[in-house]
């Protein structure tokens, strides 16, 4: 948008620097502009001074804006004049335009045509520290209230499911089972195999010093079944499936799909959350069992490959060390982890705002709260099991 001033000296001022001078006399202000006003031209100080000068005028006085030798111009000039115009409107003085190109004046008029909407509540007021703490506390309380509310809705949906009254599509359940279970096998295999290897390496260095290398089998077996397989699988699934749940439901929220269900009288929690929760609570323990075996295999590889333990001896030692109780603990834990990941993912998704950024936030916070939940619950399990002596 590079109009040219209808000045006869256009060519002469083509490359002239933009200039602005504000002169005060008898309570009047005269602003003179000249030169080429294009983006990137440095006139900031002169502009601020001019706006400052204009703001000192009071009603009986008048403001003149005079353009002489004005070269090419773009929005830079319009933005400056708009500031002058707003300032003048604020103090209730009208501006006399002289020699200012018609196009510039029309753009300024267009930009001032719709007054700034008041009462939109978006002030730049600063918030004090105490207010921030208070807002944070209220938000935390609200967050807790919503979680409890959602837990209640999920419980009711589960009750409806048990009574066979829940409204959901079996295809959705089966598809979610496939997505969360079978399709997670490659990543779960990789992670747990490596965890098995790492555990065996750590054990090997320590135990070989005491000539007790065979106890690597105990270490790997117990650590995997009681802790690592369950926790690592859950974390992988949190990043994979929990995030997917939050993103799916968040997008549905933005697309009014959840509203469409609600108005049809289909509870969204039954239709959307229930299949996901069931699928994950069902698949997580299975992934755990699978992960255990892959991890044990990793330990076995290190045992016989690096420590020269006999294959049969290693297997016998593992079977002896790991009891059914250890498996049961891991199994129960991972079912709980599955429910936690699905709950967090679905809750964040259902509460997501209706924008792309909101879906991103929902996804992030689903993964973060899943992982925190997993670790906290694992710690609780350890404490309780320790007290019970299992």
């Amino acid at each position: 948008m590079a109009h040219r001033a209808s000045s006869v000296h256009v060519d002469a001022v083509e490359d002239a620097l933009p200039e602005v001078r504000a002169e005060r006399s008898d309570g009047n202000v005269r602003v003179a502009i000249s030169g080429t006003w294009k983006r990137g031209a440095a006139v900031q100080r002169g502009v601020d001074d001019a706006v400052q000068a204009v703001s000192t005028v009071s009603p009986p006085g008048h403001i003149e804006v005079i353009a002489a030798n004005l070269g090419a111009w773009d929005s830079t000039l319009v933005a400056f004049l708009l500031r002058l115009q707003s300032e003048a409107t604020r103090i209730g003085v009208s501006i006399e335009w002289q020699g200012v190109p018609e196009g510039v004046r029309r753009l300024v008029a267009l930009a001032s045509a719709v007054p700034e909407r008041s009462g939109t509540g978006r002030g730049g007021e600063s918030i004090g520290f105490l207010a921030q703490v208070g807002t944070f506390a209220l938000a935390a309380a609200e967050e807790g209230r919503r979680s409890v509310l959602f837990l209640g809705q999920v419980t009711l949906a589960l009750a409806a499911f048990v009574r066979g009254r829940a409204i959901y599509r079996r295809e959705d359940l089966i598809r979610t089972i496939q997505e969360t279970g079978a399709q997670a096998l490659p990543i779960v295999s990789t992670i747990t195999l490596l965890i098995g290897l790492i555990l065996a390496f750590i054990g090997a260095i320590q135990l070989a010093q005491f000539g007790a290398a065979i106890y690597v089998a105990d270490l790997v077996g117990l650590a995997l079944t009681r802790e690592m397989a369950a926790v690592m699988t859950a974390i992988v699934v949190a990043g994979r499936t929990g995030a997917a749940f939050a993103a799916q439901l968040g997008t549905m929220q933005g697309n009014e799909e959840i509203d469409a269900l609600t108005t049809l009288g289909v509870p969204a929690v039954e239709f959307l959350v229930l299949p996901r929760l069931l699928a994950l609570a069902l698949m997580m323990p299975l992934l755990y069992v699978y992960g255990c075996f892959i991890g044990l295999f990793g330990g076995y590889l290190v045992g016989i490959g690096l420590l020269d333990l006999g294959s049969q001896a290693y297997i016998d030692r593992t079977v002896e060390a790991v009891g059914v109780a250890d498996f049961a603990i891991g199994f129960v834990k991972s079912a709980v982890f599955g429910a936690v990941v699905a709950f967090a993912g679905c809750q964040r998704g259902m509460e997501a705002g209706r924008s792309a950024a909101a879906v991103g936030q929902a996804t992030t916070s689903a993964v973060v709260s899943s992982i925190v939940g997993i670790i906290v619950i694992d710690a609780l399990f350890s404490v309780v099991l320790n007290i019970l002596g299992i």
């Binding site: 599509r169 799909e257 509203d259 469409a260 108005t263 049809l264």
Partner: protein, 255 residues
């Protein structure tokens, strides 16, 4: 409104989000079998009003009555039963993305009728054909264009032959011809099935083509400022803003 019991009566409805007042004291009535248009400038709360009327948002004050029965002064269960009379076309169609078009239209039928799968299939094909989507039964929402999604959404809204249809900006994003076909379909639904239609829109061509009656919500005064058939509002609404809105800002010659 000469009718003793209006199909829909909105009474002193006040809408807020937290402390933010959207609209206050909105009251109007919709006669059975009419096409009613809710208009107003952007951000005035037209869609929000619709969401209050269909039960998605609880009003801060006031009530909505359907055939004289209170919609908000009752429990959730009754509200669900009442809302079975509604068909709603959301702004973007709001099709369930994990289901094919046929499954989308079939869900309300499977939910609230005892029809056999075969009968449901037939009805689904009919509804899709009515909106010009014959043969797209097995497509998923992500595989079709925005305008087609909107039409499929309409097929779903009509699935249960509702006696009240709500449209949220039906012609937004449609080309002029599709938009016009949609208007014709709306009039056809009114004339052949006696459906009451509530449309949120600011497409002037549509407004004049379909509306029997209309209201205008104002973003600045935050309330309803005009009520009447759009043509008579254009001629002699006391509010200059409404006249100028309906004339697309052109100067209106006094009639």
């Amino acid at each position: 409104m000469g009718n003793p019991v209006p199909r829909i009566a909105v009474r002193n409805l006040t809408m807020r989000f937290g402390n933010y007042l959207v609209q206050r004291d909105v009251s109007f009535e919709v006669a059975p079998g009419s096409v009613f248009v809710i208009m107003g400038d952007s951000g005035c709360g037209k869609s929000t009003l619709l969401r209050h009327m269909v039960g998605l948002v609880h009003p801060a004050a006031g009530d909505v009555l359907y055939d004289g029965e209170s919609f908000w002064d009752t429990d959730d269960e009754r509200r669900t039963v009442m809302s079975r009379r509604f068909g709603i076309l959301f702004q973007s169609g709001a099709l369930w993305s994990s289901m094919s078009l046929a499954e989308n239209v079939a869900l309300p039928l499977a939910q609230y009728t005892t029809l056999s799968p075969r009968e449901i299939d037939e009805l689904v094909s009919l509804k899709l054909a009515l909106v010009g989507l014959r043969g797209f039964e097995e497509y998923f929402p992500s595989e079709i264009s925005g305008g087609m999604r909107k039409r499929a959404g309409l097929a779903r809204a009509m699935a249960l032959d509702p006696d009240i249809l709500f449209f949220d900006e039906p012609s937004a994003g449609l080309d002029p011809l599709s938009s016009r076909r949609l208007d014709e379909l709306i009039l056809e639904l009114r004339d052949s099935l006696g459906t009451t239609v509530v449309v949120v829109t600011h497409e002037l061509a549509s407004i004049f083509a379909i509306a029997d009656d209309s209201i205008f919500l104002d973003a600045e005064q935050r309330t309803l400022i005009a009520h009447g058939p759009p043509l008579s509002l254009l001629r002699d609404c006391p509010q200059a803003k409404v006249r100028s809105f309906l004339a697309r800002g052109e100067p209106v010659s006094a009639a």
